[in-house]
């Protein structure tokens, strides 16, 4: 006789509390999984996790660094949430970030010996437009030529990366730079104002916060947001309601590209101050995790960006104190996504423990 101990049942409705609790569960599972990995590597797991998640933010400088990393992540993820909510899979935010950086950086170089309050806004705007234009490519190809936006947006990342490579090695390289693959330093008026002396946290955080607020407004309070929501839930319904699907695809890609472009320009005018090969440690890809960890919800994304930013910092401290490679950070990011997808199973199914019935044995 077959005895079932556990029964898995489909939930009739997704409860809202579980919807926002599963990301928390995923984070705890990640900590647990991380602890096991550290244990296998021969470290005391509690100590190691402390180095990873507590030490980096135990002083003011660390907190500032956390915000420096969270700023671009949050900005990109907010943009991506427009795409993901409407079932458009923009995987190429990294490329849009780099292209925004290229355009913004190009303008900054143009103004390298100019001063004036107008310089920075022009650079920021051009960066946003750059990212936007780059994101329009997969959108147009998807709407008019039926291509798959996942592939196109992803492959365009490498186009942007190689273009940046070419520019910093070739035409835009610093004439006084001894052939290092980098451009001139941008002028002071092309740099994001620093908020506190001695810390790297810069005015880009305000751009991010304003964008989060505007996004919340658009997503929840406007007709466009309503259309995005409906199309994400059911394309059939969107068609039946008469929404202009093609234009909407292009709009969400534009929003998402502009956000990534802003993030790129924020990096080069903020902490970096010039263009070189590695202007982004894969913020564009990591932001995908941030977007989902934050449940595509503006407030959720703010929290998620802080947590994921911490994995970047933790990896650096762990490298210093534990001599583990900084790629551990990516392992943690991967684990968060893995456990998040895993615990999403609980959204739709519930597990019932039936226990043993004596007469069946």
């Amino acid at each position: 006789m077959e005895v079932q101990l556990i029964k898995i049942e489909k939930r009739s409705d997704v409860s809202r509390s579980i919807y926002f609790l599963t990301p928390v569960l995923a984070i705890f599972l990640t900590l647990f999984g991380g602890g096991i990995i550290f244990y296998i590597l021969g470290f005391n797991p509690i100590e190691a996790l402390k180095f990873f998640f507590i030490t980096p933010i135990s002083d003011l400088y660390g907190l500032s660094e956390l915000l420096v990393k969270a700023t671009p992540l949050c900005l990109i993820a907010i943009g991506l949430s427009f795409c993901f909510k409407s079932n458009n899979w923009n995987i190429g935010a990294e490329g849009q970030l780099i292209f925004g950086g290229i355009v913004g950086g190009g303008v900054a170089l143009l103004f390298y010996n100019h001063d004036g309050f107008y310089v920075l806004p022009i650079i920021i705007l051009s960066g946003a437009i750059g990212g936007m234009l780059f994101a329009i490519i997969p959108a147009i190809l998807k709407t008019y030529f039926n291509t798959n936006e996942i592939l196109v947006s992803l492959m365009l990342v490498y186009v942007a990366k190689l273009l940046l490579d070419y520019l910093v090695v070739g035409p835009w390289s610093n004439p006084e730079g001894f052939n290092f693959p980098e451009t001139r330093q941008f002028s002071e008026s092309a740099r994001m104002p620093i908020l506190f002396d001695g810390l790297r946290i810069h005015a880009g955080i305000f751009i991010t916060l304003i964008t989060v607020f505007l996004s919340w407004l658009i997503l929840y309070k406007t007709y466009l947001g309503f259309q995005i929501k409906v199309s994400g839930l059911s394309l059939k319904t969107a068609k039946y309601a008469g929404y202009k699907g093609k234009i909407m695809i292009i709009i969400v890609f534009m929003i998402s590209g502009a956000c990534a472009g802003l993030a790129g320009v924020g990096e080069i005018t903020g902490p970096i101050g010039q263009l070189h090969r590695n202007i982004s440690p894969d913020y564009g890809f990591t932001a995908i995790i941030v977007a989902f960890l934050g449940r595509l919800n503006p407030v959720g994304i703010i929290f998620a960006s802080l947590i994921v930013a911490l994995t970047y910092l933790g990896a650096e401290t762990a490298q210093i104190f534990l001599q583990v490679p900084k790629y551990t950070g990516q392992v943690f990011q991967g684990m968060i996504l893995f456990f998040l997808l895993g615990s999403d199973y609980l959204l739709f199914f519930k597990i019932k423990f039936l226990g043993l019935k004596k007469n069946e044995l």
Partner: protein, 499 residues
Amino acid sequence: MNTKLKVSEISKIYPGCIANDKVSLEFGSGKIYALLGENGAGKSTLVKILSGVVKPDKGEVFLNDESIKLNSPLDAKKNNIGMVFQHFNLFETLSVFENLSIDSDKKDEDIRLLVNDILQKYNFKIDLDIPVLNLSAGQKQKVEIIRCLIRNPKVLIMDEPTSVLTEQETDDLFISLKQFSKDGILIIYITHKLKEVLSLCDEVAVMRKGKVVSVSNTIDEKIESLANKMVGENLNTIKKKINNFKNSQEILKITNLNFKSDDPYETNLNNLNLSLKKGECLGIAGISGNGQNELFQILSGEIITEGTSIMFRNKEIGKLNPRERREYLMAFSPEDRISQAAVPELKIYENVALNNFKSSNFFEKGLVNEKKIKEHSKKILSNFSVNTNNVELKSQFLSGGNLQKLIIGRELITSPELLVCFNPTWGLDVGAINYIHETLIQINEQGKSSILISTDNDELLKLSDRICVIYKGKLSKIMNADTVTAEKLGILMGGGSID
């Protein structure tokens, strides 16, 4: 080698619908059996149970008097039950041979010998080494069939196999199926095409609303008798007073409308002509899959056509999308109320906002006017007696009947001149059906027009002023409802003609 297959008291209940209700059937080898029924009659569920895709809630399957458990498609394979689905399950980029050998434990050479034998025996001509994507639909189907044949099936189940075939391919398929049957394979043929049943099958079981309503020899049946069994022949005595609209103003006119689809699973529409007068209800009958879906989408604007082909209140609307058509006072209630007419995850008031008129001001200057939408929603809930007054409720918690009342209410509260509805009472209980029917009669009495596309003949005869039948994408002559009988509809629905 005699094979007997028996299903006994099979029941399968999905939330809100009984897909199979104590279905019992017996099959024996040497014959071809038809399983006939409308979409949603329960035949696909039964077939999925036989192929191990779906587990029944109750009941048993017996193969040669032995009870068998079909917990997965693998179990069906082990019991030599082969299945060819309507939508092919082939790897397009792999070669024919790779597709055949991919899930087999036998050596490649042995499979090749086996396949070549089958090719010869049944006179199939297929190159084994070209990619599947280069094959025609008929050839792909043959690959699926061969995939079953190399496992020496005792039972072969074909699900709507001719929906993507040409006439010639259909003829070829029938010859092969008859040959398989002679070789002792029990064949179960699922379809809603009446002619195929008569020309191919020996016995026919008709399903309706989850139940087997009749089992008979095909020799004793005619197209009309089968059609009536499929859609129900109990004519309701309550009937709308049929009006004569000779002097009414024409509100909608479709002339020479053609639609050709790129999707082989869709039906092309040929040379449609119809007109509709103010206050009139035009019923469009037909067995599902004959182009009703496409016709509805053309009327709603989900499919855009030439501007001049559709005139509504003297305006060309063929090129307008659904939202634009609504501004001209058209309203639409699609067949799929659960995932098209409404979004289950959205709240009631959000679903109401899907029908957005400029004058209703739901979205002023691009901003959501939640207060206005909620007021409007409350009005719908009370005017159309939906069983809740909570506009924040997600629509997935409404029963089918209440959801349909909400949708019809949403469409009608703006006083449209024309309502197009497609199977508005599908799957509803009697109370809700009566309510919807009364509502539809009422709008005609108020001088508004309606087009009722339905696969339910009772409903059509009850509500329509004029009726026509759609068959293979073509409309029959439009007849006055008082001259139409269920028999006439049956003949036309099966592709026959009347004077």
